[in-house]
Each structure stands twice: as structure tokens, then as C-alpha cells.
Amino acid sequence: MRVFSFLEHTMTTLFEPPILKTDPQVRRFEDVRQLLPDVEQPTPIVRLGRLAAARELYLKLEWLNPFGSIKDRTAAYMLSELLPEMEGRRLIEASSGNTALALAALANLEDIPVTVTIPDGAPIEKRVLLRMLGAEVLETPDDLCPVDLPADGAIALARAIAGSRGGEAYAWTDQYSNRANVRAHYETTGPEVWRQTQGQVRAFVAGFGTCGTISGVGRFLKEQDPSIRIVAVEPNPGHRLPGLKSFAEAKQPEILDQSVIDQVVRIDDETAYSTTLSLFRQEGLMVGPSTGAIVAASLALDDPGLTVAISPDSGFKYASYFAQFLDDQQQRKDEDARHPHP
């Protein structure tokens, strides 16, 4: 009988255990969240053998996180802490894109809606990806609140929405003040770097953004060996390096732990962008522009020995920025050819 055989089939599929189970050894998983890294399953580190042949400089490839950037770690930690209070509420976060992408993807898995405030200059790729994930995207000029300096319109708007009448409907993850952001790196990124270098790491280099990475990894490594050099990278005011912050124009995040930082290296956009292209062309590493800044800063150091630099994300989300950079570069070349310098 047809109906019976259908029922029988349903019963057997319900009660039979699945044939395949999660097995990280062969990289088979039942849920995308199992791809989030930890010390047993770290993101890789790869030596820059051409660009920095004379050094032992390794890049930690954070675009290999499941949602494409180092912010997957932060988003997973912040969301799991907030989950018990999310019933009937929306998540809200200010982000240059990467935190928001990870939060939106993870929140979708829990049926939690997400609102993102994002600087209106953020690359189109990130703004579209957020919409593809179904997030509400509020594009915000940095000078939205002209009286409230230093200007950071996206953060100010997220704070205002969460703090205004009706704000109870929003849970603001507030990555710039959220200790879970630092804890994510203290418990995962830091121990990964230590283990991957067999405790031989002499220097660690990362950018100033929310400062979760530098504060969390910095603290973990200093606890293992206080002589490990922790180097932060800061862009110039008016930069086009999403994810990074210049504290000449943005407020220092509450979670920044200055006590673990030995040195700050400033890198201009031109150097960051051309180093990014060198990583593409010489190393086959298709990284984003903040990686270019971090690698340029690593190369500017007196060789500290075995160094791990962070690559926060890949270059794919910045194709539109690089289209402009490459066009400008070509135009300068053409002009130089027409008017050669003596």
C-alpha cells in the first residue's frame, strides 16, 4: 500500500541514525558553525617567502573563517552571550561590514533579525552582501552628528537607536565596548598563534579597529612571554582602509588595552594598497587592504624574529576600491610617460 510504505519510510528515516556524522579529520560538518576556528582547528598561517624572504614572517589567513573574516570570532562570542535575552528582539551593530556580515549570518541561524549601521563610504560589495543576508542596512555618513566629535556616525546612530524610545526592542552588541570581543581573541586567536609557532613567536602585528584582536591576542601572548613584541597598525586620518581606525579622528574604543602594546606603526593608504597588490602578485594571497597595511608595518620593523601578522579578510569585498586605485595608478603612469621627469 502506497500510504503505508510512505509511513514506513518516514519511520525508518526518523529512527535510523544518519550515515554520516561530523568528522573534522575529513572536514565533514553538520552545521556551518562547526567551521568556527579554535586551537584544535585554527585558521592557517602561511610564510611570506617571497615578499619577506629574509624574514620569518607568517600571515594568519582569517578570510578562511566561515563568514569571511576575523570578525566571525567576535560575532560568535558576542551573539552566544546575548542569546538568552534575544526573544522578540533585533540585533543592532555598527560595523564597517565584517562584524555585521558574521552577525547577520549567525543570527539568521537563530531566526534573529539584524539591523546594521554602516559608514556610507563602505564598499558596495559589503553593503550588497549584507542585503543578500537579509539584514536591514542603514548607511550613515561619518559626520551625521556634526556636534558630536570625534565623528563616527554609524556608532552614534546604533547607540541612539538602542538608547531611544522603543530601544528595548534592540540588543546592541557594541563591539567597541564588548568584553566578549577581546575574550574571543584571548581564547582562540591568541592560543592558535602560540601553538602554531610552537611558542617561538617573537612579534605579533595587527590593526587598530575595535581593538579586540590586538587587546585579546596581545594579552594572551604577554602572559606566555612578556618579551613578545605586540605591534599595532594605525592608518592616517581620512584613510580608505575599512576595519581600521585612526585615533586622530575616531574615539579610542573602551576595550583597547594599551598596556599590552609595545609599538604603533602608522601606514598611509598608498603603501597599504600597493603592499596588498604585492601580496596578490608575489605570494598568491588575495587579501584585503587592511592586510596590506599590517604587512607593510611588519616589514617596517627591525627584524624581530618569528613574526605573525594578521590578515583580517580577503580582497574580494574591496574590488570596487581597487578598481579606482588601479585606474588612478594607470593614469599617473600615463601622465608620467607624457611628461617625463628630468
Partner: protein
């Protein structure tokens, strides 16, 4: 100029095409929402805006300046502020 004459009108005689009440909203939410409405309005139309965050007394004139809109009138009642903004032509 007709614009200058209108600026001196008493606010209660000013007409508006759209009204936005942002009572209870903190800065810069009123600026953001006013900006969204002004984008939608036709040139020459007037927005009447109610705010309760005193930061608006600086933020809203700055918004109008930035966008090139005309701030026709401002009333400050302490707990609430009223603005009439004409979208740039």
C-alpha cells in the same frame, strides 16, 4: 527675496507638506530620520520636525547647511524643539 520674507513669518502660520515627530529619540536619530524624509520630499516642500534631544538645536541647522536646505524657522520650548525645513530647489 521671497525666502527672506517667509523666514520672518510666525511659525504657526507656516504650512508644511510632511511632519515628523522624533520625541524620545536621541541624537543623531532625529537627524538621520529627517535626512531620510528630506531625500523623499520634492524640491520646495516643507518638513515640520519635532525633537526632544537638545543636541538637535545644533544638529538640524548643520544638516540643513550640509544638504543646502533652508531652515525656515526654529522654536525652542525647552523640552521640545520645532523645526521647519524647506527642501532645496
Amino acid at each position: 527675496m521671497t525666502n527672506n520674507n517667509e523666514r520672518t513669518k510666525m511659525p504657526d502660520t507656516l504650512t508644511h507638506d510632511e511632519s515628523l515627530d522624533t520625541s524620545g529619540f536621541l541624537c543623531p536619530l532625529p537627524v538621520y530620520q529627517a535626512g531620510q524624509v528630506l531625500i523623499r520630499l520634492a524640491p520646495g516642500q516643507v518638513l515640520r520636525l519635532v525633537t526632544t534631544d537638545r543636541g538637535s538645536l545644533q544638529d538640524i541647522p548643520a544638516l540643513a547647511r550640509q544638504r543646502g536646505d533652508e531652515l525656515l524657522a526654529v522654536e525652542d520650548h525647552g523640552a521640545t524643539q520645532l523645526f521647519w525645513i524647506r527642501k532645496n530647489a
